[in-house]
Amino acid sequence: MAETLAKKSGPRSLFFRYGPEIAGLASLVVAALVFELLVRIGVINRFVIPPPSDVIMAFERVVVEEDILGRTGATVFEMIVAALAAVLVGVPIGAALHHSPLWRRALEDWVGAMAAAPIVLAFPLFLVLFGRSPKTIIVMAFFHGLAPIILKTIEGLSGTRKVLINVGRSLNMTSSQLFWKILFPSALPVIFTGIRLSWTFVLITVVGVEYLINLGGLGQLINELAERYDLPGTYAVIFFVILVSVFFFVLLERVELWLRPAR
């Protein structure tokens, strides 16, 4: 028995359990080593891509000298406000358009066009409307994140299987019960796909506009470090942007697991 247990908790079983994570981390380390080598032997110019060892060394500097935590906080705050607003406004608009075939036909293509539009480039207009403030960043990110949620909410609600609606009808459910107890939970997986897309757009817009208008969190810091030609520092901050992105996706996964335990 003890032997069996020892076998089960051995390195082989650990590898099978954490295999994907270990493989993912290993490929990152290998990629860093390859870049390190290519930069050191001069195949890649270190003024285009700095050696990964310099980027690692730059972490301490950006944390101590550049107030990275405060700036990450600013970016996270702008992102949370824009992302939540996009969900709170996008889902009801999607549900309303699903409910009204006329308005859906009238507006769905426009919303699709809005999803594809490079809203970041409209920053001068938003600057005029909201001034050089976090408000501009939040409003622009909100608009960019809105369309995927609207479109995926419509798609999710329309994709509810007819037999589930018939179960609801056979139980004499009111239209409100039908929506909250059948249509909405059935549409949730697709709505979450929309939220994932939306939050990607929101993060890109927040960091992009911070960079463009040189204001706020990590985007502004990337701008400043790039202008100082501090490439290791720039890449170190980009790593923090990735961390923010990972944080939001882990958060979303937790919420989804809580709402849909049967995934």
Partner: protein
């Protein structure tokens, strides 16, 4: 003739349903009449395209616009009625709810207290033989188990009439026979009035007290056959001579209808091919 002395739980009287307009009208159900007595198990059998599913939707109240009447007591069915519990052909469990929450769903809608609805859900889950799967989600169950969840969810409202539309159509023959046993046990334990819509001959004979045989389009009642196999009944009955006799007898009625249906589909396919 037997149901004259039994109180009918449901009376289907001269029901007609047409689809389409002007010259494109198709009569799906044509002057169909039959009764279902209290505690009786009646099956409606017919080839594809005989209007079985239309009849299911009319009796379930999902198709309110029809001629004739489906009466439960003094009430004409024109919308879903609490006395009729429906089990659908397609898989209809809610994937986001576990078994017990699926089964308790109708009671949740009625505002029954949680402890009471859980107690009643335990009872019906046990009845359909899924006691150890209460916390499982539908994605973790087989097709037959999911259909049993749907049946338990329908039974928990204690409907006067259990209306089922080919609930085992997607299952293999062995599972179908075993679930037939389960349905027979439940029906006898609850004295549940049941109307089964099916195209499966053995299933109909295995389960029913009477079988309403339908014609191919337009769907009319061709014959009503009394099944005088002994009760309590199990799937062992399929090996008996009497069972074989009933299957052969009903197949004689159905063969001509099924052939018409097949010829019709083939000529429709040929027309589509010619136009394509």
């Amino acid at each position: 003739m037997e149901d004259i002395c039994l109180q009918p739980a449901m009376v289907v009287d001269d029901v007609v349903k047409r689809f389409g307009r002007d010259e494109q009208v198709i009569t799906a159900v044509d002057h169909v009449s039959f009764n279902v007595a209290q505690g009786e198990f009646v099956s409606v059998i017919g080839p594809s395209g005989c209007g079985k599913s239309t009849l299911f939707n009319i009796i379930g109240g999902l198709l309110g616009d029809y001629e004739g009447s489906v009466m439960i007591g003094d009430e004409r069915i024109s919308a879903p009625h609490p006395a009729v519990g429906m089990v659908f052909q397609e898989e209809s469990t809610f994937p986001w709810r576990n078994v017990i929450d699926n089964v308790a769903f109708p009671l949740e809608l009625q505002g029954v207290a949680k402890s009471e609805r859980m107690d009643r859900a335990h009872h019906f889950i046990d009845m359909v033989g899924l006691a150890s799967f209460e916390k499982s989600f539908p994605s973790q169950l087989s097709g037959g188990m999911r259909q049993r969840v749907s049946i338990a969810r329908t039974l928990i409202s204690q409907p006067k009439i259990l209306l089922m539309d080919e609930p085992f159509a997607a299952l293999d023959e062995q599972t179908r026979l075993l679930l037939g046993d389960k349905i027979t046990q439940i029906q006898q334990a609850l004295n549940q009035t049941t109307l089964l819509i099916t195209h499966n001959l053995t299933e109909a004979v295995q389960l029913s007290d009477r079988i309403v045989v339908m014609t191919y389009r337009p769907g009319k009642v061709k014959r009503i056959v009394d099944i005088k196999l002994p009760r309590p009944r199990t799937s062992d009955v399929v090996g008996s001579d009497a069972f074989g006799h009933y299957v052969a007898e009903i197949w004689n009625d159905l063969r001509e209808e099924a052939s018409r249906g097949m010829a019709d589909s083939e000529s429709a396919a040929a027309r589509r091919g010619a136009h394509g």
